[in-house]
Amino acid sequence: MSIKVRYFASLKEMTGRAEDQLDFSKSVTVKEIWYQANKDKTLPDNILAAVNMEYVSFDHRVNDGDEVAFFPPVTGG
């Protein structure tokens, strides 16, 4: 199962990456993806997650080909 992971704003700076391409042999949640991609980094408190550009909770299960994104609280407008 192939998953694209994207990071925005302060999370891009924190992880040092704009995106990851990960492979999983079994079904995983958004939270498991974070820890797989960022082994040494605790999931920051106020972080938001989206799958295919819709907001999801961290126990949302992803499907093959999904795009997962992690980012801080939004500050537009």
Binding site: A50, F71, P72, V74, G77
Partner: protein, 152 residues
């Protein structure tokens, strides 16, 4: 209905005029137009701000804004709506966001434009990084409730 993400400076009044002239369904039926324009202030949380960089998540931005307008159209009688948002490098007095709603009645126009603006602040994936007078940079942590005094 239109959603525009612009990397260059824009004139909100020009955007409105242009949209009104091109949108035939607005003619005759509109009694109320409610507009919100957000512009960059030269201050925030007690500091002087020289400039800002606005990052966004392309496509998710448009998707979320379309969802928000859709929700507003289910809640209120709206004839048409336009949302324009800047990204990139922004300086004081530059317009950041324009929300325009056209309706037959003022209550629907006021309520829906405010709904769209508050939902945009809560859900549209934009992030501001401020350049302070000291040349330090900082990410804006979260959007405020929109009032001068927080004691409300």
């Amino acid at each position: 209905m239109d959603i525009k993400i612009l990397a260059e400076s824009f004139d909100p009044w020009q955007e409105i005029k242009q949209y009104q002239n091109s949108a035939k369904k607005i003619k005759g039926k509109v009694g109320a137009t409610s507009i919100f324009v957000g512009t960059m202030r030269d201050f925030n949380e007690g500091d002087i701000i020289k400039a800002m960089t606005l990052e966004h998540y392309p496509h998710m931005t448009e998707k979320q804004l379309a969802n928000i307008i859709e929700e507003a159209m289910q809640k209120w009688q709206i004839i048409d709506a336009l949302v324009v948002h800047r990204v990139g490098n922004i300086f004081p007095d530059d317009p950041i966001v324009l929300v325009a709603v056209w309706s037959s009645h003022r209550g629907d126009a006021f309520d829906s434009s405010r709904y769209i603006m508050e939902a945009l602040k809560a859900k549209a994936p934009f992030w501001k990084k401020e350049l302070l007078a000291s040349d330090d940079e900082r990410w804006v942590g979260k959007n405020s409730d929109g009032y001068e005094s927080r004691s409300r």
